[in-house]
Amino acid sequence: DVKVTQSSRYLVKRTGEKVFLECVQDMDHENMFWYRQDPGLGLRLIYFSYDVKMKEKGDIPEGYSVSREKKERFSLILESASTNQTSMYLCASSLFGTGTYEQYFGPGTRLTVT
C-alpha cells in the first residue's frame, strides 16, 4: 500500500513564526504536491515537485516555499506565518510520466495561526 505521511495532524503556531510541514512517501514516486484546503474553495495547489531539488509554483505560492532534498520527502515552509494561512494542508504524491497518474494523499495537517 502506498503510504503518505505528514509530520503533524494538528499544529498551532503564532503569527510571524517559521513553520515547517513535512511529508514523506514510501512508494518511490517522482511527483509530490502540497495543497491547501479551505471550505468552499476545494483543493488549491501551492507547489509541486517532479524531482529532487526541482519545484514548480502552483496556483497560490505566495507566502510559501518548499524543499525537496530527498526523493521521498517534500517540505512546505511558511517563512512568517500569518492568520490567513490557517488551513488544512494536504500533501500528495504520484508517479511521473507522459500521462496523468492518480495522486495519493496524506492525512493532512490542520494548521492554526493565532
Binding site: 504536491f33 508517479l95 496523468t100 495522486q103 494523499f105
Partner: protein, 113 residues
C-alpha cells in the same frame, strides 16, 4: 487560465435516492479523475476516465466522460449513508504540467437515513 467547475456545491438526499454531480472544464481534457473525501479524511482516488464518451461503473457508482471530453459526471444509485463525503473531479493542469491536477471545488453529499 484553465478551470474545472463542479456543481452542485452541496446535495442533501434521503437514503435510497439517487445523486449526481457534474464537472465541466473550460478546455478539452486528456483525462479526468474522480476522488472521494470522507468527513475528517483525505481525498482518495476513485477512477480515471480517458476516452471520449467513456462510461465506467463501480457497484452503484457510474462515471461518464463527455463526447467532447470537456465534461464528466458521477452518478450514485440508491445512496447509502456510507456514500457521505465530498466528491471531487480533477483534470490535468495545462502547459507541460508534469502530472499536476486542477481540482473542482467538490460536491458535498449528505445522506439522511
Amino acid at each position: 487560465g484553465q478551470q474545472v467547475m463542479q456543481i452542485p456545491q452541496y446535495q442533501h438526499v434521503q437514503e435510497g435516492e439517487d445523486f449526481t454531480t457534474y464537472c465541466n472544464s473550460s478546455t478539452t481534457l486528456s483525462n479526468i479523475q474522480w476522488y472521494k473525501q470522507r468527513p475528517g479524511g483525505h481525498p482518495v482516488f476513485l477512477i480515471q476516465l480517458v476516452k471520449s464518451g467513456e462510461v465506467k461503473k463501480q457497484k452503484r457508482l457510474t462515471f461518464q466522460f463527455g463526447e467532447a471530453k470537456k465534461n464528466s459526471s458521477l452518478h450514485i444509485t440508491a445512496t447509502q449513508t456510507t456514500d457521505v463525503g465530498t466528491y471531487f473531479c480533477a483534470g490535468p493542469g495545462g502547459g507541460g504540467s508534469q502530472g499536476n491536477l486542477i481540482f473542482g471545488k467538490g460536491t458535498k453529499l449528505s445522506v439522511k437515513p
